[in-house]
Amino acid sequence: LFRYLHQLKSAGFHVDELFQKCLFEEDEKEKVLSAIRIVQPNYQLPPPANPQTCKSSLLQDFYSKEKAVSYPKLDFTVQELQERFQQQLEMELGSTVTIESVESAKPLTPQAIKARKLLATLRSQWHSSLLQALQKSKHNMSSLKEVSGYDILYPYLCLLPDEEYVGIMMQILGALSPQGESLVVLARELGSKVYNRYITQRKLRSHQLEKVQEVYEGYIHLLAKDSQPDNYLPREYWEKLVTEAGFGPSLNLKGCNWPYMLVMRLGMHMLELLVQAVKVPRNILNPRLEPRLIPVLYHIYSFRSSWQVGLIKPHPIFSQLVSDAAETLLTFSSSAIPMLCPPVPWTSPNFGAYLLNDTRLMRFVDGVTQHQLLLDQCPLVNLHPVLDALNQLGNCAWKINQPVLDIIISIFNDKGNEKLDIPPPISEAPRPPSAPGNSSTWNKSLKHELLLCKKKTAEMHSLRMDALYKLSIANYVRDKVFWFPHNMDFRGRTYPCPPYFNHLGNDVTRAILLFAEGRPLGPKGLDWLKIHLINLTGLKKKEALQERLEYANEIMEEILDSADHPLTGRKWWMNTDEPWQALACCMEIAKASRSPDPAAYISHFPVHQDGSCNGLQHYAALGRDLIGAVSVNLMPCGVPQDVYSAVAQQVEEFRRKDAEQGVKVAQVLQGFVSRKVVKQTVMTVVYGVTRYGGRLQIEKRLREIDDFPEEYLWEASHYLVKQVFNGIKEMFSATRDIQNWLTESAKLIAQSGRTVEWVTPLGLPIVQPYYRSRSTVLNCGMQHLSVKNSSNSQKPDTVKQKNAFPPNFIHSLDSTHMMLTALHCLRQGLTFVSVHDCYWTHALTVDTMNQICRQQFVALHGEKILQDLSEFMLEKYCSPGRETRAPWQKKLMEQLSDVPKTGEFNLKKVMDSTYFFS
């Protein structure tokens, strides 16, 4: 011990650092402490480090303790939150949740009863044959004397009880669609399920869970209504409790990411076991056939032009049985269900969200590890704003809009409705034409028709299952309050973690979500509900808010009719852009307007405010483009401006001039230049659409116009895309310069062999994860699998690095704006969630949210964003002090220093613009 301590010292470390920086499991910390005290009897643990505060100028107010407001309380007692925590914990400990599907309301047929019995028998057989096969394969591996490549798997097959591996395989079998699935996907799923189970086991064994439990018990006092108010943010409070309990970094598990290769190998091994072991008697549905065991899963290749994809498909006998049985139980991984208690606040890139399930702060594409490294290296204090914003979004409590859910389920269980986006059941699929005799005698057109039928049925099946999952989960939590923990992509755009049912979903899922917290409508709330309804219909887009409100009042009778008789009345709601949200809104308006005092009516309804062409808004603000700013509503105006119409007008102007000059194609296009033709291209310009892609978009629009001469399609679309780009250049002159500057800078950086990196104004470090993929061939028994390889020596993909930089940069700005708005809404006690550039809050607080949203936009663009980016990149890519500078380095330096000039627009004007977000 003496020698070790000496060595530590001579290497420049202090004993204190052991306790400040190392991760401990179980009682390792106590053991280390007592060991040190043998040598240094008086050694005392270092005092906990003082919490650091983020210094970002955008958040000075937010983090200043003087102005701190107590954290908004949830409508729960400590006791209630404690119970919910227990429920969530039990769910996660079980790793999977089995719930009744919404189809269970249907009556059971005798055929179904029979099929279910059969399936149950088969399943127990499969279970035991899988167990046998697993044990046999493990035995074979363990008895291998020499080190062969394959038995590296052996330890990974011993991490969990055998039964758990079999359970995971059975789960995959149960979820396989009749169309089958590619080997890669199945192997990855199997492998990562084992990994997740293993992580849970480790958390249990290392007593990490007990520590989390203890801290969480204290943590809910911050949120519960019956406890002391505290001037802490969730993250701060959690950190304080961790320090007080003396856990320090021991709450984090030691990094134990399995390499992607290993996950795939493990998955492939389990998949092979499945294919070999699971069999069914061939005559089970047709007793006349000879009784022979045949595999339930078969492996087949699908040939694409130059490569082949291996697929695993279920035998039709199995699919038939499953469909006959019409089982109504669905099994999900526990992380697919919304959380039943407030999420664990994010306190580091590796800790937060679920209690046990492994979740990452930043989502990444398989095999790419660069962001995680970057986050781990980043000083934690720089991540505080991002962590706090994610915690704020995740702490929003939700509940189900039961009347709307019931209507949707009733249609879903009846025949569905494609127009209302409720997928019909497979029984409604088109019948294939009756084919005579042997399939080998079918002619080409019959085969073609059969194929189309099959394709349609497959599409319907996947849509139906998707809706079934969403509705069933919603139905499962119908009487509960629940939470969506959030994480983000590499640009900082935030997403709820549960994959199927969340507020980012389609119209149907959004319509069944309500804030669990209710707020009175206040004096203007009912008006906001009405305006929101008109926004959802897609009508009156060009009218002022006042006119939308008046229109709502005019059609009040229709609104009330929709609310009272949604399926039997005049069905006004069905003919709107977002029918289900419109219906939900009609019902809310009906209830509010009929209450004795609408202003006091307690509403749980989320009201949305959308950014109008948000990408261009950020560009126009970056470049201070005057004309551009007006067209995307950064400038106050009496009515909403429409950038697409403005561009269309500009293009029409160019066309008229050219036509006068005798340009043939300009003359042909007379009367065809419209908002619709240019809209998609304008919208995607921000996201880096090229002339090539833009021309295809416009050609598609022109093709839709019946009397447009076909022979001019190519020439006309070519001409128009040029004019659209010119039009945008004219209106957003600085925007185009900025876009070009970003592209050119990224090109030079990528060409020098580096990836493009930057830091958002909130301090989030970003790296573009595009590399030239190198694949390694995994040699598995069933099939060779080509797996993308990732290592730090990867070379960047120059083209992607270059083309994706402008849109990614803009996305990092829009996510920053959203986070700033979220944090400041929190300080004002607002409920706030977002779907990227669509912000939600209660009707009461729409005005406040709008004000904050504008303030933060002005504050964000008040920063020297491009200047800061230029300085950051110069520092990063053109390391100063080097005597010899290669020509490319000089070129890069010149490029990065040459920040584009900006226009005249006065940013403060945004504060008074009604239609900036509306």
Binding site: P295, F303, K313, S440, T441, L451
Partner: protein, 293 residues
């Protein structure tokens, strides 16, 4: 092109139909056509874009084969009859393999040009593709589904080998436009004659079920080292290797060990046995047709 091959053929005294896909070469060829007394017919047409898969109007130089055969005045003959038309040409290197597959499907389905009988192809292909077409079991890497299917379908004769250096290529960097090849030799262009087998459809193989045959061969050779018995078992096509014993194929044979004729015998045996009635197999075949077309 400029008509060198055309002139050579004309000098040999045969009737020639020249299909020219580049309109720049047309005027010259047409004046040659006019100077002769019906021995030459020039058509603006791309042989490798016959019967395009896209729906809608077919614009020249793409063309439908029935229109082409009507224009040149050749009527369909029975399969077993003599070769009605001989085709000379050079396969475009860029999509050589695609073209070989498309021709193969047409051959087995008796569609497109093969609707008119056993059309003989005399084509220049790269040496590496020639090696594939003529590969024998055991030729690692070269023996593929394409080998089996062409060998069952056609008699393959090598007429001439010409080194790449004899050809002028117009690659921008001045290099030879020779496709890269890692495993197989590729130093020549090979003039190959592909004559469809007269007895192709005399056994159990028919134009209507041939897509199942193609499917079977492709699936088997997707992983050439796998054992045939395992494959058949996993598709529940054979139990206890009875079928293989009857065909005198060893149970341990890998799929790459079977001769093209073995595949044909295997298919015909399966055709006769009851197991082939499994509907899923036909669904897969149907699916595979969609993927190819």
């Amino acid at each position: 092109g400029p008509g060198i091959l055309t002139r050579t053929l004309l000098n040999a005294g045969v009737r020639v139909v020249a299909l020219e896909s580049n309109s720049a070469f047309l005027p010259n060829l047409q004046s040659l056509e006019n100077s002769l007394d019906g021995q030459l017919k020039v058509i603006y047409c791309d042989f490798f874009r016959l019967d395009p898969l896209v729906t809608g109007t077919v614009k020249p130089p793409a063309m439908c084969s029935d229109k082409l055969f009507e224009t040149i005045g050749v009527a369909a003959v029975p399969w077993r009859a003599d070769v009605p038309v001989k085709v000379f040409g050079i396969l475009p290197q860029r999509k050589e393999r695609n073209t070989l597959w498309r021709l193969l499907f047409a051959l087995y389905e008796c569609s497109s040009i093969y609707r008119y009988g056993r059309i003989e192809l005399n084509i220049f292909i790269s040496e590496k593709e020639y090696k594939v077409l003529t590969a024998k079991p055991g030729d690692a890497r070269a023996y593929q589904a394409l080998s089996v299917l062409w060998q069952v379908g056609c008699e393959i004769q090598l007429l001439h080998k010409e080194p790449w250096s004899s050809f002028v290529t117009n690659l921008k960097n001045g290099g030879l436009a020779v496709p890269k090849s890692t495993w197989l030799p590729n130093d020549h262009l090979c003039l190959v004659r592909l004559t469809p087998q007269q007895n192709l459809f005399t056994g159990g193989l028919k134009p209507t079920n041939s897509s199942t045959f193609i499917f079977l061969v492709k699936q088997c050779l997707a992983k050439p080292k796998s054992r045939l018995a395992d494959k058949l078992n996993s598709w529940s096509l054979d139990s206890s290797g009875k079928l293989l014993t009857e065909l005198e194929i060893p149970k341990s044979a890998a799929t790459r060990n079977l001769y093209p004729e073995d595949y044909r015998r295997l298919f015909e045996a399966l055709q006769n046995s009851s197991v082939f009635t499994e509907t899923w197999f036909h669904d897969e075949v149907l699916e595979s047709i969609r993927n190819i077309n």
